[in-house]
Structure formats: structure tokens, C-alpha cells
């Protein structure tokens, strides 16, 4: 990697973007790379990785958007990713994006980057906002003080972007490393430590001064790397030195003080987080997001389904061989359909979330509702995800991307399948209607209540299981309100939607072909493998009193919960004289078994697309298996209780 040729053609340059959250880092990334971006996950974790290509003056530059962080310690997953990337991948330039309105905190991160490496460029973003607020930033002075190139930018107006591109390419060719000094006492310790580190050849790849600073800060990873551990802790002194140094720099480079008086952001916040109004607005916005995601996308999804079934029948008429026709029509086209029906849903969901995220409302929503959610050890941001679950668990799990705390995100992903999605409602209506007549409404209400109770209890249990007594880590910034920008939102929606199509789509398609195989061979319907599985599982379900037809429909229901309705009507409806009603079922099983069956349908294994996104979002099959088996166990236990208690009444 280090062997450089003196060829004239430009070597590929790699740039890493760093910055505090909410400083417009992603906007800068968007203007640098345009639409040439790829969104994936960092290997092995669920943190989003955005990479893109910037083309400028015959140079092709790889740009990586590192997660937003406040420090370069390894105190959170985001920070560890950013830091490891800088150390392991050695990008040619580290571009730190600062917030012109709040430079102090941005410079704190910048200093930490400067401790670690050279070739750093500072882009002071949102400079237009800062001017409006009455700040005047002297970039030459700032550049002189820091010893690195400084560019004033605005992703909104486009100011400074060309200059930034030029600076980045120029900096990639230099190799300067700037240091600033701590107090004499700390400097003496640093020299001493650096000498000790120099003796260790395995550490030659690291910056010695940086490692020494980290050791003085009692950084766990630095201690592991060097095998050294100090018995004193200078972290507070070091942090204070950095802030003092920053104050000195800012005193000469930033003129003007923030205008005091009426502040729009604060005025909006006063209403948005108000004790009563805040909750009303929160509920109203949640309602709108829910309606947008499911009501508007409903007709679109139906349209897609109709189109595909039309396509299916056309294609089907061309194919003479029965099994091949069924494979193409039911397996492949049906499978593609299973993915595509989610498309309007997912895209509209991310459009709505994108607007909430861009404007800065999402953290406020989390703030308003946090206490209620934290009672079950979830974050305020989990609320929106769980709410979406009432429409569809897939949307619900996809939306957990906005939860910044990894632990709370994982728990939300694992419990959200217990939220009763709209695909389960037809099952409730059909069976409750058949067995409970006028009381059907109460039964459905009971199921929704149960759904919430199981979700809450599971959240508490999973927290106990996986994260024994770890304290909360919520440290959340409430950013200034911003006007949402169409291009950012479109990119946001497109990137996330595409990610779903590529990753989850593949799994859903494969699964639907497998399910087709199970239902078609050796003979379709009651002679299929699926029916055989249903019959074979019979003994397990004796305590619950389910017939093999019911069990088989549950097996089919793993593909999608609404399939249970069609399987039941096929099995029972054909037997009854009155068409599709399930009257015949009433003569076979008692009402408490029917109720227990509904409970089972509510709680058992999430549907295939949900399992696919669990894999996709957690990055591991471990959690897919956990989710499947845990929910099966819960479903069995609760259904059994319902049957036994119901039998006594």
C-alpha cells in the first residue's frame, strides 16, 4: 500500500469525514459526492457506513463518512469505528467538519484528530447561519493558529465547496503533522511515555505522542495495545487544557457575540417540548407519520400486487409445465411481489423520518416521551418504531435506524415483532367473528392489549438477559431547528430504501421460493411438505388442542401472517356448505382453543420479511434465531395459559 510510483496519473485519494453529530457532516458529504454513494453497515455492527466518490479536477477521491462523534475516545461504538478507521485505514486526509455557530466543541474533536495524525483539514460549516447570528470567523487567523488549512463552507448555499475540494486534493499531497502543547507537567510525562513506547517495536505504526496522551487519559485500548497501565489519571487536566487552548484560539479568530434576544429555535422549542402542547404535538405528528406510512402506501401496495398478479397470469399462460409455471408465478413473481409490496411503505416511511430528522424534531420527540419508554428500558426514539409496528413490523424494525444507542436499538428490534401488525388483523377478524359473534370486538381489543403487555415485559426481560444492570448512556443533543432540504431527504430516503431492497429483498425472495417448494411438493395443498410438517408437529400441539389444519396454516403463516386466513379457509371453508365462513371449525374446536389460537398467531415466530430485516439490521443470525425461538416459547406459554384458564371458565 505504501509503495508509491512516480507515475503521472493521480493516485487514488481517500478522505475520511469526521465531525460532531448535527453539524451538517452528511450535507457536506452529499455535496462532495453527489449521488455517487453507497450505504452499507460497518462490518459486524449495525452502524451505517456511507461511502462515496468525489470527482474533481481529474482526481477521483474516495470519501468515507465516519459516524458523528464528540471525541475520539473509544467510549461508544461510533467513536471506536471512527478512531479505528483513522488508525487502520490511514485515509490520506481527515476532513473535520465544524459548526460555525458552535466552534468550541467542534475544535475539541479537531484537537483529538490532530493528536492522532497529520493532514487534517477543517471545514467550518453553516457559516451563513453564523453570520446571521452575528459571528465573524477569520479563517486565516484560525488556519494560522491551528496550523492546518481551514475552509468556511455552507452546504446550504454552496459557499466554499469548490475551495474545499481544491484544499482536500492539495492536502492529500502534503504530509504535515501539527502539535499543540499541554502543561509542562503533562508534557514531561508525555516525553517519558513516548520514550518507553519507542522501545516497543510492535507499536512503531502508531503515533507515539498520541498513544502517550491516551495512556495519560487511561484509555482502555491504549493500555491494551501498549501493555502499560499508569496509576494516575490526567484525563480531566488534558480535557481542560484542550478547552483552554481552544478558548485562546477562538478569542483571536472569532469576532462578535451571539445576538441576545428572540431566538426562533428556542421559541419553537418552547411549544414543541411544552408540558401539554408538546405531548399533543408529539401525538399528532406520530399519527401523521403512521397514516402517511400505511394509509397512503396502502393503495400503492395494492396496485403493485394487482400488477404482479396480472403479470403472473400472463407469464403463467406462456408456460406449459405445471410445476415450472407454479415456480415462476407463485415462487418467483410471488416472491418479488412480497418484496415490492413493502416498497411504498418503506420509502414513504423514510421520507417522513427524513423530514423529522432533517428538521431536528426527532430528538425532541424522543425527549418528550423518553421517561415512559425508559421505564421499560427503551429509548424515547423507540416509541416511533413500536408505533409503526402496528402497521408493519418490517417498517418498525427499519425505523430503528434512528435510535442512536446500540443497546436500546437492539432491544427495540427484538421486541417489535410482538406489536400486532395489520397483517394479523384479518386473522383476528375471521376467527373472532366466527367464534365470538358480538363479542369479537372485545376479543380483538384483548389481543392488542396483550400485544403491548408482552412487548413491555419482553423489553424488560431481554434487557435483563443481555445487558445486566448496565446504566443508561443517553447523552443526546437537541440540534437547532433547520429547514429540511429536499435533496438531502431524497438521498436519505433513496439510500435507506435501496438498502432494504438489496439486502432484505434477497432474503425475502429466497425464503419465498423455499416456502413455495414446501407447499408445492410432493403434491400441492394437503399432500405438501408443509402439510406433512403440520401433521408431524401435531403431538407438540396436543396440549393446545390445535388440529393439523390449524398447525399447517401456522406454518404457512411464517411466510406472511395474512396467509393464515387463506389457508384456514382452504382447509375448513371447502368442507363447509356456506362458502368461506369457518362454521365447520366451530364444530371441531371450542372457543377457548380458538382464543388460544389467536394468541398464538399474535405472538409466534415473526413473518419471513421481519426475520429478514432482523438479520439485516442486527447483522447476525444469532438474533434471528433468538427472535424466532423466544417468540415461539412465549406464544406457546401464553396460548396454553389462555386455553387452560378459558377451559375453567
Amino acid at each position: 500500500m505504501e509503495n508509491q510510483t512516480d507515475a503521472i496519473e493521480s493516485k487514488k485519494i481517500k478522505i475520511a469525514l469526521l465531525g460532531n453529530p448535527n453539524v451538517g457532516k452528511t450535507s457536506i458529504f452529499n455535496v462532495l459526492t453527489g449521488s455517487r454513494q453507497i450505504v452499507a453497515n460497518w462490518p459486524g455492527v449495525t452502524v451505517e457506513k456511507r461511502t462515496g466518490v468525489m470527482k474533481h479536477a481529474n482526481h477521483t477521491v474516495d470519501v468515507v463518512d465516519l459516524p458523528g462523534t464528540y471525541t475520539l475516545g473509544a467510549t461508544s461504538l461510533d467513536e471506536r469505528i471512527a478512531r479505528d478507521f483513522l488508525i487502520d485505514e490511514r485515509p490520506d486526509v481527515a476532513l473535520v467538519i465544524g459548526d460555525a455557530v458552535n466552534l468550541e466543541r467542534s475544535l475539541y474533536l479537531l484537537l483529538q484528530v490532530l493528536e492522532l495524525r497529520g493532514d487534517v483539514v477543517l471545514a467550518v460549516n453553516a457559516v451563513d447561519e453564523a453570520r446571521k447570528a452575528g459571528f465573524d470567523i477569520d479563517k486565516h487567523e484560525l488556519s494560522k493558529q491551528l496550523g492546518i488549512p481551514v475552509v468556511l463552507t455552507s452546504a446550504v448555499t454552496g459557499e466554499g465547496i469548490e475551495e474545499l475540494k481544491n484544499t482536500l486534493i492539495k492536502s492529500a499531497k502534503s504530509s504535515s503533522h501539527v502539535h499543540y502543547l499541554f502543561t509542562d507537567e503533562i508534557e514531561a510525562s508525555l516525553r517519558n511515555l513516548s520514550d518507553r513506547i519507542r522501545g516497543n517495536t510492535s507499536l512503531s505504526a502508531f503515533d507515539k505522542r498520541w498513544l502517550s496522551i491516551k495512556l495519560l487519559e487511561r484509555d482502555k485500548e491504549a493500555e491494551k495495545l501498549t501493555g502499560m497501565s499508569l496509576d494516575y489519571d490526567y484525563s480531566i487536566e488534558i480535557a481542560e487544557t484542550r478547552y483552554k487552548y481552544i478558548k485562546r484560539i477562538l478569542s483571536t479568530s472569532v469576532k462578535g457575540k451571539e445576538k441576545i434576544g428572540w431566538n426562533l429555535s428556542e421559541a419553537i422549542d418552547h411549544v414543541m417540548t411544552h408540558r401539554f402542547l408538546g405531548i399533543l404535538i408529539f401525538l399528532a405528528i406520530m399519527y401523521i407519520v403512521f397514516q402517511l406510512t400505511f394509509t397512503i402506501s396502502g393503495p400503492l401496495s395494492t396496485m403493485i400486487e394487482d400488477l404482479l398478479s396480472g403479470l403472473g397470469s400472463v407469464v403463467g399462460s406462456w408456460i406449459g409445465i405445471d410445476w415450472l409455471r407454479s415456480l415462476v408465478v407463485d415462487g418467483v413473481i410471488g416472491g418479488v411481489g412480497a418484496i415490492l409490496v413493502f416498497v411504498p411503505n418503506i420509502f414513504i416511511l423514510f421520507l417522513a423520518l427524513g423530514v423529522l430528522e432533517e428538521t431536528g424534531y426527532l430528538p425532541r420527540a424522543a425527549f418528550v416521551i423518553d421517561k415512559l419508554m425508559y421505564a421499560m428500558k427503551l429509548s424515547g426514539r423507540s416509541f416511533i418504531s413500536l408505533l409503526l409496528g402496528f402497521g408493519c413490523n418490517v417498517s418498525s424494525i427499519m425505523s430503528t435506524r434512528s435510535i442512536s444507542e446500540p443497546k436500546e436499538r437492539l432491544v427495540t428490534i427484538l421486541v417489535s415483532p410482538f406489536i400486532s401488525c395489520s397483517a394479523r388483523l384479518p386473522v383476528y377478524v375471521l376467527i373472532a367473528g366466527t367464534f365470538f359473534g358480538v363479542n369479537a370486538g372485545i376479543v380483538v381489543f384483548f389481543l392488542y392489549l396483550l400485544s403491548i403487555v408482552v412487548t413491555v415485559l419482553s423489553a424488560l426481560l431481554i434487557n435483563k438477559l443481555f445487558f445486566k444492570g448496565e446504566p443508561s448512556t443517553l447523552i443526546m443533543e437537541l440540534p437547532r431547528y433547520r429547514k429540511p432540504r429536499l435533496t438531502s431527504i431524497v438521498l436519505y430516503t433513496w439510500n435507506k430504501g435501496r438498502h432494504f431492497l438489496e439486502k432484505a429483498g434477497t432474503i425475502i425472495l429466497a425464503a419465498s421460493v423455499v416456502i413455495w417448494l414446501l407447499t408445492y411438493f410432493p403434491t400441492e395443498g394437503t399432500g405438501s411438505f408443509a402439510a406433512t410438517i403440520g401433521k408431524a408437529l401435531g403431538p407438540l400441539f396436543v396440549p393446545l388442542g390445535y388440529t393439523w389444519e390449524m398447525i399447517t396454516s401456522l406454518v404457512f403463516g411464517i411466510a406472511a401472517k395474512e396467509v393464515i386466513v387463506s389457508s384456514l379457509t382452504t382447509f375448513f371453508g371447502n368442507l363447509s356448505m356456506s362458502g368461506t365462513s369457518l362454521d365447520i371449525m366451530r364444530t371441531i374446536i371450542s372457543p377457548e382453543i380458538a382464543l388460544s389460537f389467536l394468541v398464538f398467531v399474535l405472538l409466534y415466530v415473526p413473518c419471513m420479511p421481519t426475520l429478514a430485516v432482523i438479520k439485516n439490521e442486527t447483522g447476525s443470525y444469532r438474533f434471528v434465531f433468538f427472535s424466532a425461538f423466544y417468540s415461539l416459547a412465549v406464544a406457546y406459554a401464553v396460548a396454553l395459559i389462555v386455553r387452560v384458564v378459558g377451559g375453567l371458565l
Binding site: G73, A239, E258, G278, V368, D370, I475, E477
Partner: protein, 148 residues
């Protein structure tokens, strides 16, 4: 007076004295400007009482009580319910028109001198403008006073 950050009142300011938190959390907060001597203000309490928004170095940061209770701040003003007997000045009253009106009747307004006569048990005995009265602990929490 040194109090935990979590027990400040809406609008109250203080200076950070100490972070009694595990190193990881402390380092994250350091990056946000939570170092000793820094001025911090409790801007807003969430509708259900927790978390709270604090303004530090010009940005608003949300913390839950289980973190903010371990951050100690020096405030010149404290809720009346925490003070011992002596003379104080009312600097802030946290409450609506009704609450302010009721306090005005017993002589308590922003900017006036208040004497705490007894601070024991559930009630606090005070005297303002020569009117002696007793306040509940909940009421006293919403009256912010300073010494001198």
C-alpha cells in the same frame, strides 16, 4: 451551594464542580464541554419530569436523571426546600399565575427578602414582609432563593 445537576430548577444556572461518573461516561461528557468551571443551565424538564435539557457551551444536551444526578454543580441559587435557617432573596418562582398569586398573598415575590425560620419535616416555616407562613416541600421546591 453544591447540588446535583438533576435537582436544579428550570431556568437555573450553575458552574460544574465535579463529575462523579464512570470514566467512559465522563469522557463522553468532556467532549461535550462538561468540565469543571463550565457554566451550565437547566433549560427544560421533559413533560414527564425526566430527562432534562441542559445548555452548555451554547448547545442543548439531554441527560436522564441517572446521569445528571452524578454531576455536581455550584449554584448561588437553590430551591427553598434545601436551605437551612437564615435570610435569603427570592430569585425565581417556578410556577404559573395561580401559584404566584397565592405566594403574593403571603408576601413572597421575586426579588424580596425571605427568612427561613424552621426547616424540619414536611413543612417549611418562612417569613416574608413580616408575614409568617408555612410552605409544603413541593411548593418550596419551586421557589428559588440565593444567599446574600
Amino acid at each position: 451551594m453544591v447540588v446535583p445537576l438533576s435537582s436544579m430548577c428550570e431556568g437555573e444556572k450553575g458552574k460544574i464542580r465535579k463529575l462523579e461518573l464512570p470514566p467512559l461516561t465522563r469522557e463522553r461528557l468532556c467532549g461535550l464541554g462538561f468540565v469543571s468551571g463550565e457554566e451550565i443551565q437547566l433549560v427544560k424538564v421533559a413533560p414527564f419530569g425526566d430527562p432534562k435539557v441542559f445548555r452548555i457551551k451554547g448547545t442543548d444536551i439531554t441527560l436522564r436523571d441517572d446521569i445528571s444526578m452524578w454531576i455536581l454543580v455550584e449554584t448561588s441559587s437553590v430551591p427553598l426546600s434545601y436551605v437551612s435557617e437564615g435570610d435569603y432573596w427570592v430569585s425565581l418562582i417556578n410556577g404559573g399565575m395561580g401559584f404566584r398569586q397565592r405566594l403574593r398573598v403571603i408576601g413572597i415575590e421575586e426579588g424580596i427578602k425571605i427568612s427561613v425560620i424552621g426547616n424540619l419535616g414536611k413543612r417549611i416555616e418562612v417569613s416574608a414582609k413580616g408575614i409568617r407562613s408555612t410552605l409544603s416541600r413541593g411548593q418550596a421546591m419551586r421557589i428559588i432563593v440565593r444567599e446574600r
